[in-house]
C-alpha cells in the first residue's frame, strides 16, 4: 500500500478539480453536478450517525452549505471529496444522535458461515461462481443495484467504511482521517462489510 500522509496533496489528480474551479467562479451547474455525484454516499454516511432518513437529509443539506462556505478557504491539501466527507461527518457527529466511535470493534466472529466448512476447516460448500457474469453489462448493473440496496442493511460503521473505500474509492488513510478511526479498525470493518456483500452476490447470482 502506498503511504499517503493526511495533510499532503493526494498523489493522484483530484477528479473534482475542474468542478471546483467552476464553483469558485459561481457556476451553479457545477454545483448540481457535484451534488448529484456525492449525495448518495453522503446519505449513506450520514445514516450511520443519525436516527432517521429525514435527519440524514438535513445533515447532508447542512454539509453542502458548509462546503460552499468553506470554498474560499479550501487549499487542496486533500481531495475535494475527502474534504466534503469530512465536513459531512463533522456535521453528522454534532447532530449527535448516535455515536459511531463509541462502539468498540469487538465482533471478531467469522464472516463466512461456519457450516460451509468441514471439521478440518476446509470448504465443504465451496463458493458458487458468479464473477463471470460481470462481463454482461445488464447483469453487472443488476449486481450494482443489489449491492446498493444491501449497503443499507450493513451495520452503520461497515456501511460508512465500504461506502468511502469501495464505492467512492478513497484510500485507507483518507477513510481513517474522515471517520477518525484507526487503520486496524478500518480493516476489520471493511472486511466484515465486503464479506457480507460478497455473500449477497453469491446468493443472488451464484451457481447459474
Amino acid at each position: 500500500m502506498t503511504a499517503r500522509h493526511p495533510g499532503r496533496p493526494p498523489a493522484y489528480p483530484d477528479p473534482d478539480a475542474h468542478l471546483l474551479a467552476l464553483l469558485r467562479a459561481g457556476d451553479e451547474q457545477a454545483f448540481v453536478l457535484l451534488v448529484r455525484r456525492y449525495r448518495p454516499s453522503m446519505l449513506r454516511l450520514a445514516a450511520a450517525y443519525v436516527p432517521s432518513r429525514a435527519v440524514a437529509e438535513e445533515v447532508v443539506q447542512d454539509a453542502w452549505l458548509g462546503f460552499l462556505r468553506g470554498l474560499n478557504r479550501f487549499e487542496g491539501r486533500s481531495s475535494v471529496r475527502t474534504w466534503l466527507f469530512r465536513i459531512l461527518v463533522n456535521r453528522a457527529r454534532s447532530a449527535r444522535s448516535k455515536e459511531l466511535r463509541s462502539t468498540a470493534v469487538a465482533d471478531l466472529s467469522a464472516t463466512v458461515d461456519a457450516a460451509r466448512f468441514d471439521a478440518s476447516g476446509g470448504w465443504a460448500s465451496p463458493p458458487q461462481c458468479w464473477t463471470d457474469l460481470v462481463d454482461d453489462r445488464l447483469v453487472a448493473q443488476q449486481m450494482a443495484d443489489a449491492v446498493a440496496v444491501a449497503m443499507g442493511d450493513l451495520p452503520d460503521r461497515q456501511r460508512a467504511v465500504v461506502t468511502l473505500r469501495d464505492v467512492e474509492g478513497l484510500s485507507s488513510q483518507e477513510v481513517c482521517s474522515v471517520l477518525e478511526i484507526t487503520e486496524a479498525n478500518q480493516r476489520v470493518l471493511l472486511h466484515r462489510g465486503r464479506s457480507r456483500l460478497r455473500q449477497l452476490l453469491e446468493s443472488q447470482f451464484g451457481g447459474a
Binding site: 448518495p40 452549505l65 458468479w130 460481470v134 472486511h191 452476490l201
Partner: protein
Amino acid sequence: MQLHLPARRELVCQQVVELVTDYLEGALRPAARRRFERHLAGCEHCTEYLIQIKATIAVAGRITPEDLTAEMRAEFTELFRRWRDEDNDD
C-alpha cells in the same frame, strides 16, 4: 516425528477467508503473507473466494448515483444561490 509437526502449521480455508482483507490491504507480515499465498496456490476454492471479494469491490465501485429529481435540483440550486448572495454581501 518432526516431519509431522511443522514449526508453522499451514492455514486452513476457514482461516484464509478471514485474512483476505488484510492480504489485499498489504497488512500481513511477510511470513503470514507467504503462508496465505502458499495456501491459495493449492486451493482453487479459496482462490475463487479471493476473486469474488475483488469482484465485489469492483461491483461496489459501479454503483452509480441516480439523477436528481427536478425538485432536488431546484432545492440545491436555491441553496447555491443563497450562498452566492451571502458571499457577495461580504
